[in-house]
């Protein structure tokens, strides 16, 4: 009993120590890089803090920008639990955003809350639809979801490029941008915060995180999804429909990504559609989830960390003339270090994984022997 608790305490202490070590090493690297270009690390820390949490306005921006990352992370978590590897988030964010924009540009006459809701739903539908292609190809044509989702990302980029030059183009001088969305369609912001930078969509984060945890752990749907993710064949033999579970999970994750797309456009500072609005949220969201070890609650924290890296780098640039390339270096270094730290922390507690399960990348949703195919 006492032995166990000492061990737990030691384990906790060790994890804490590694976290601290990571932070220290990252800071050290950052400091060295800053010194090479002649910027004082202390000034930089100051500027970083000022840009991210130094004022309530900036803190609002940081939190608001964390929301899309977090939503994508939730999408990843859903598919991960279902044992599917879907990496189509950039595409789903883009298409969700496009759908939301298409609706938002025509929704100015609607009353505020209703218009906001409608745009969010359009985003969800767009993302889910785009992921639906992945799900369909997987479920009925046996195309690996990782392949189709990757290819669809590249298609989505072109769809957006076409939309902002064609049907949705709407700026005076024919830039590849849509017109501005009517203020009524944007998520309202907390009035307490100067600059109104914090949109109410941050409330989505805790609600959806708790909701997802609940669905996965407390509903038959979540149970089916997890069982299918754990062992497709066993799930099937136990009377579940792992194909449907997997496909639903893919569509659901697309819905999260689509909502992220809508949030980027309607809860951010830039109320118009433009190329590149996706801002790498799709892939960074995966990193957010994985660094949180696929925990929806943990993802809330890692999403804020990621978004502060991003917001902070802009402020480093504009206040201290730190080049954007340096901040990319730092972002990459942080991910690498956090990964290594997580690995080190897990090393001690690691026992071999259970008896090897069939590959998570298994293409065919049904075993080859199945005669009950479509």
């Amino acid at each position: 009993m006492t032995l166990l608790s000492t061990a737990t305490i030691l384990g906790l202490a060790q994890r804490l120590l590694t976290q601290v070590a990571v932070a220290a090493v990252t800071l050290l690297i950052a400091a060295l890089l800053l010194l090479t270009i002649g910027v004082s690390p202390l000034d930089a820390a100051d500027a970083f803090w000022a840009g991210t949490f130094g004022s309530s306005t900036n803190a609002g921006t940081t939190l608001t920008q964390a929301v899309p990352l977090f939503l994508v992370a939730l999408g990843w978590i859903v598919t991960e639990k279902a044992g599917r590897i879907q990496v189509g988030f950039p595409g789903q964010v883009v298409i969700g955003g496009c759908a939301a924009a298409a609706v938002g540009l025509h929704a100015e006459s609607l009353p505020g809350p209703f218009a906001v809701l409608l745009c969010a739903v359009a985003g969800i539908a767009g993302g889910a639809m785009w992921a639906g292609i992945v799900a369909w190809l997987w479920a009925s044509r046996g195309v690996l979801e990782i392949v189709s989702s990757l290819l669809l990302n590249l298609v989505a980029v072109q769809v957006l490029a076409w939309l902002v030059r064609g049907p949705l183009q709407g700026s005076l001088d024919k830039q590849p941008q849509s017109a501005n969305f009517a203020p009524s369609t944007s998520w309202p912001a907390f009035p307490q915060i100067p600059g109104m930078t914090l949109s109410y969509d941050v409330l989505l984060a805790p609600v959806l995180a708790v909701g997802l945890v609940w669905v996965l752990s407390r509903t038959t749907f979540g149970f089916t999804v997890r069982a299918s993710g754990g062992n497709v064949t066993a799930a099937r033999w136990q009377g579940m429909d792992p194909v449907r579970a997997g496909a639903s999970a893919i569509v659901a994750s697309g819905a999260f990504a689509g909502l992220a797309g809508a949030a980027l456009l309607f809860a951010g500072a830039a109320p118009w559609l433009s190329e590149g609005f996706e801002a790498s949220v799709g892939f960074n969201g995966i990193a957010v989830a994985l660094l949180a070890r696929n925990s929806p609650i943990g993802a809330m924290v890692t999403a804020v960390v990621f978004s502060s890296l991003n917001v902070g780098s802009t402020s480093l640039q504009s206040l201290l003339d730190v080049p954007s390339t340096l901040t990319s270096v730092l972002q990459g270094a942080v991910i690498v270090l956090v990964l290594i730290a997580a690995a080190v922390a897990m090393r001690r507690r690691r026992t071999p994984p259970p008896v090897p399960e069939p590959s998570t990348l298994e293409a065919s949703p049904r075993p080859a022997t199945a005669g009950t195919g479509v």
Partner: protein, 364 residues
């Protein structure tokens, strides 16, 4: 004015070569179980290091060696993360992608005072063969890199299918436990393939910078790394598939550049599109037991394909007066790839079972 002339074929080869070489290396790594989605970053590292060496010594051979070293550096990071620390490969790849861009752009801005330009690799005509009509110009009047890529692809095929090393590699990606039990070092094989993938990606990156055009720009690999990964996946982890995928990507890309300049899409393009659709239609019409029937075509998605090809044939006879937006052309290779995958019902060739799964023998 032909769209499909010798110059077209040459540009297909030029576009294809670096992607193919990188994809070839990545194929080996993935067959051994390691996926590096940060290949773009590794290629950038190769592109920059090659350029940086050129700036110092102005020698293409050394430049390419520098590029290879850069690629190996990026790959080594992947190896440390994926094989040693056993972290999630996808996040590791994302990090390497970000780092590759950031580090090369940063170094380029701060340590290369003046942008330089160099001569690209010269084209070497192979005596005799280069005199052949069409083929000679396309295949045997190329630069050294393209010849080298061809050699590498052939050697890869040989290594994968004809050597113990190939067997070991496939086993490591498929059932690492079995390889381990047989005494094959899972770590060793994975390291070797990851580093080889780094060599390939580094050389491909160097080709993009100093080989093809002789300059370096931030982010100049421009998505070729992602394309290489897409090719490996679309090629279903088979060398033949990868070749086909790269060929499709390169061809549509080359066509796209051609057609942009023209106002109207010429008839031959429609004809080729129609011809490409035929095997897909046949495929869809083929029942599981190998018999072909027209009735198998009567499901909505299949009807759509049939209708599409009919329209294309009609267009080939009477070209419509349309030009399509560039986006459509740019999206075309990926859409084609998806249609082909759906038609092929690709379930038979599966991913290596242990792809992206770290190997843990027992409690470490």
């Amino acid at each position: 004015m032909g769209v499909f002339d010798v110059a077209f074929l040459v540009s297909v080869l030029t576009i294809a070569a670096p992607v193919l070489l990188a994809a070839n290396g990545e194929l080996l790594a993935q067959r051994a179980g390691v996926m590096n989605v940060g290949l773009e970053g590794v290629m950038l590292s190769g592109a920059f290091c090659g350029y940086a060496v050129m700036c110092q010594v102005d020698n293409q051979m050394l430049g390419f060696l520098g590029g290879i070293a850069g690629g190996v550096l990026g790959a080594a990071l992947m190896g440390i993360l994926a094989i040693e620390a056993r972290v999630d490969q996808i996040v590791a790849g994302i990090a390497i992608g970000i780092l590759g861009y950031g580090v090369t752009a940063f170094l380029n801005q701060h340590f290369i005072p003046e942008p330089r330009t160099f001569d690209p690799l010269p084209r070497l005509a192979i005596p005799g063969l280069s005199a052949l009509p069409v083929i000679g110009d396309v295949l045997f009047r190329q630069d050294l890199f393209i010849y080298a890529t061809a050699i590498v692809v052939v050697s890869t095929a040989y290594a994968l299918h004809r050597t113990t090393w190939g067997i070991n590699l496939v086993a490591v990606g498929e059932t690492p436990m079995a390889a381990d039990a047989a005494g094959v070092s899972v770590r060793g094989v994975r390291w070797a393939t990851v580093l080889l993938a780094g060599v390939a990606a580094g050389a491909a990156g160097a080709y993009v910078s100093i080989g093809d055009v002789g300059v370096f720009r931030d982010d100049m690999v421009g998505g070729r790394g992602y394309l290489a990964i897409a090719a490996v996946l679309f090629g279903m982890w088979r060398l033949r598939g990868v070749l086909l995928a790269v060929a499709i990507f390169a061809t549509t890309d080359a066509i796209q550049l051609r057609l942009q300049s023209l106002d109207v899409i010429p008839r031959e393009v429609w004809a080729v599109a129609a011809i490409l659709l035929v095997p897909i239609v046949l495929r869809l019409a083929t029942r599981a037991d190998g018999t072909r029937t027209a009735t198998a075509l009567l499901t909505p998605p299949r009807l759509l394909v049939v209708a599409g090809s009919t329209v294309l044939v009609w267009f080939a006879i009477r070209p419509p007066d349309v030009s399509l937006p560039a986006s459509l052309w740019l999206a075309m290779p990926y859409v084609l790839a998806l249609v082909a995958l759906a038609a092929a019902k690709a379930s038979r060739h599966q991913a290596p079972s242990a792809l992206t799964i770290p190997y843990v023998r027992s409690e470490a």
